[in-house]
């Protein structure tokens, strides 16, 4: 396998599709759900990329495709010079330790019949065949790393609090010493105070271990705190990516602006001073996305584009183009320079 670039993770034009329920070999392909529809992104070592978007826009599917847990229809995922999308199951299992997943709901992601210690010990057993005292030592050490009292090891998931469960989930992911953690909304099932603890823990772990994160979330506050760069996803496509500060100060895509304007502001006097338009309606079905721009059914700037630029958003799909260095937007309002 040849190496590509220096990025730890490189996703290019990745598509993930699900066959609709009840379809067979000969059914027509119109009902196919395009959960991820041509996504490209890169992630450098030690970097945190925040991936935001509404529920159902394909964020989690993208994360799982990167881990090889769902198959890609086309496109590729490269991890540290290896093409994950071309791997056999055996090769896949060898690379698994280096990319790990932190689940949204640790309660569901932990086998209810296993106690915390056995759950955390599992990766050590699988990858290093550790046993006895050595295993015990490693498990205790990783309990300490994630801020769990090793005495909790005998408890079953239902006997732990939500925050403790998520720490067990993180410990399980860290046990195989990964380079990349895909965090799939790791805080959205937790109380606010616990959310902050988990985010702080993830940041500390990044500093200590030099991890890279793909941090999937719909909570912009959390994303703002943890991310170096942010990618905004809508209906299976990336619509804007930029550094965290640029997104939050100068987000350009109408969808990014709508998301930002939906964040509650402490002082209502200063709310929405930038005149950003809220969006209306629901996300269209990913099995029949609009012909042109995916966002055209809800976009507040559509009239402007059609009147001023004379481009039909319903028919013509904008491309993701660089508007400034390291800032890409997919909207007709921002043509290439």
């Amino acid at each position: 396998m040849n190496r590509r670039g220096t990025a730890l993770l490189e996703v290019s034009d990745l598509k993930v599709q699900f066959a609709p329920r009840g379809s067979g070999l000969w059914s027509d392909k119109k009902g196919v759900v395009r959960a991820v529809d041509g996504v490209s992104l890169t992630l450098q070592r030690g970097e945190t990329l925040g991936l935001v978007g509404e529920s159902g826009c394909g964020k989690s599917t993208l994360g799982r495709a990167i881990l090889g847990l769902v198959g890609a229809a086309s496109g590729s995922v490269w991890f540290d010079g290896h093409e994950i999308t071309a791997m056999s199951n055996r090769e896949m299992r060898r690379i698994r330790p280096r990319i790990q997943l932190v689940f949204q709901d640790a309660g569901a992601a932990l086998n209810p019949r296993w106690c915390a210690r056995d759950l955390v010990a599992e990766p050590f057993k699988i990858h290093l065949s550790l046993e006895g005292a050595v295993l015990q030592q490693r498990v205790d050490a990783i309990f300490e790393t994630v801020g769990l009292d090793p005495a909790l090891g005998k408890r079953f998931p239902r006997e732990l609090s939500g925050g403790q469960r998520q720490r067990v989930g993180i410990a399980r992911a860290l046990a195989s010493e990964p380079d990349l953690l895909v965090c799939d909304e790791p805080t959205s099932a937790l109380d606010l105070s616990i959310q902050a603890q988990i985010v702080n823990l993830l940041q500390d772990l990044q500093d200590q271990l030099g991890l890279s994160y793909l941090f999937i979330a719909h909570d912009l506050g959390v994303v703002r705190q943890i991310s170096d760069r942010v990618a905004v996803m809508y209906l299976g496509k990336i619509v804007e990516t930029a550094s965290r500060d640029r997104i939050f100060k100068e987000g350009r895509h109408p969808y990014t602006q709508a998301l930002l304007s939906a964040v509650p502001v402490a002082d209502p006097e200063h709310a929405n001073t930038r005149g950003w338009k809220a969006m209306t309606g629901e996300v269209p079905s990913p099995s029949s996305p609009p012909l042109g721009c995916n966002f055209c059914t809800r976009c507040g700037s559509k009239a402007e584009v059609e009147n001023r630029l004379n481009i039909d958003c319903d028919m013509i799909e904008p491309e993701l183009i660089s508007v400034e260095e390291l800032h890409e937007v997919s909207c007709h309002l921002f043509p290439a320079n």
């Binding site: 799982r64 847990l69 299992r93 698994r96 997943l101 709901d105 569901a108 086998n111 209810p112 599992e122």
Partner: protein, 283 residues
């Protein structure tokens, strides 16, 4: 509410006491009866219940009480062997079917459907007739009849459990398929199998007894309740005890198993299933 209370409710305790009593008889019948269950004493034939023969004697003068005690071993052995085979075969086929899916699943489940489509007793009768008379043949015939129920149960459980997130988590960790099925999926589908088995035990005893009643099962002199009922039938009007006591034993044993099964399934529905449903909905 309180799970310990739910688990140890009176009907479960009564069921366990009944089954425990018969199990003790099966393990050491000598403790319960000092008489020979095959000792012919023609001079005492068909004598009524008395201090010497608590349940009376049968047509060849054998003590009915001791035959009932020794018969417990036959019946419980039948239950253990039949359910053992049915669960082993059913769980294996159900796991393969549910986990692999595709045409293998279709094939195995259609085979199971064929079994389930027949009236159970007729199928057991036909199988038993083909295999020949005898206790072992009856055991195999009933097991042959029983496995599809477990295969279907395990398959449906596996279909539900394999989609749960902890299975995906194990895969993400790097566990191979064998480990995922053996350590994560199967242990989480066995509760309903155990409950089902405790409910089935009584019916297995009844089915085996029915086959023996019809002359196919255990052959004399092996004491077997179904056969004893059949033999006592011809004396039923004048010497009621010959058929009645083995019949009552079978009845009480079946009730015992059903009490256990009902309690366990009640507990499973209130505890285990609810928590699993919550886990799934919570996503």
């Amino acid at each position: 509410m309180n799970k310990t209370f739910q688990l140890w409710n009176p009907s479960l305790l009564l069921g366990l006491a009944i089954v425990g009593l018969f199990a003790a008889m099966a393990i050491s019948p000598g403790l319960f009866s000092s008489q020979d269950p095959a000792g012919l004493r023609l001079e005492h034939r068909l004598s009524a219940p008395s201090a010497a023969n608590w349940f009376g004697t049968d047509g060849v003068g054998v003590d009915v009480y001791s035959r009932v005690v020794y018969g417990a071993r036959t019946t419980l052995a039948t239950i253990v062997v039949v359910l053992g085979i049915a669960i082993l075969v059913g769980v294996s086929i159900g796991s393969v079917s549910g986990y692999l899916g595709g045409w293998i699943d279709g094939l195995l489940m259609r085979v199971a459907d064929v079994f389930l489509a027949f009236p159970p007793l007729i199928l057991a009768l036909a199988t038993n007739a083909v295999l020949g008379r005898g206790l072992q043949q009856t055991m195999f015939a009933v097991a042959f009849l029983w496995w599809p129920a477990y295969a279907r149960l395990v398959r449906s459980q596996i279909l539900a459990v394999r989609k749960l997130e902890f299975v995906e988590s194990a895969r993400a960790i790097g566990a191979n398929e064998l480990r995922i099925v053996g350590r994560h999926v199967l242990p989480n589908v066995l509760d309903p199998v155990i409950v089902r088995a405790s409910l089935d035990a009584g019916f297995v005893a009844l089915t085996a007894a029915s086959l023996s009643f019809l002359g196919l099962g255990a052959q004399p002199p092996t004491p077997e309740w179904g056969r004893m009922v059949a033999e006592g039938q011809k004396f039923l009007l004048d010497q009621w005890w010959v058929a009645t006591f083995p019949g009552i034993s079978l009845f009480v044993l079946v009730i015992g198993f059903n009490l256990i099964g009902e309690s366990l399934s009640g507990r499973m529905q209130s505890g285990l299933h609810v928590s699993r449903a919550e886990e799934t909905e919570g996503r």
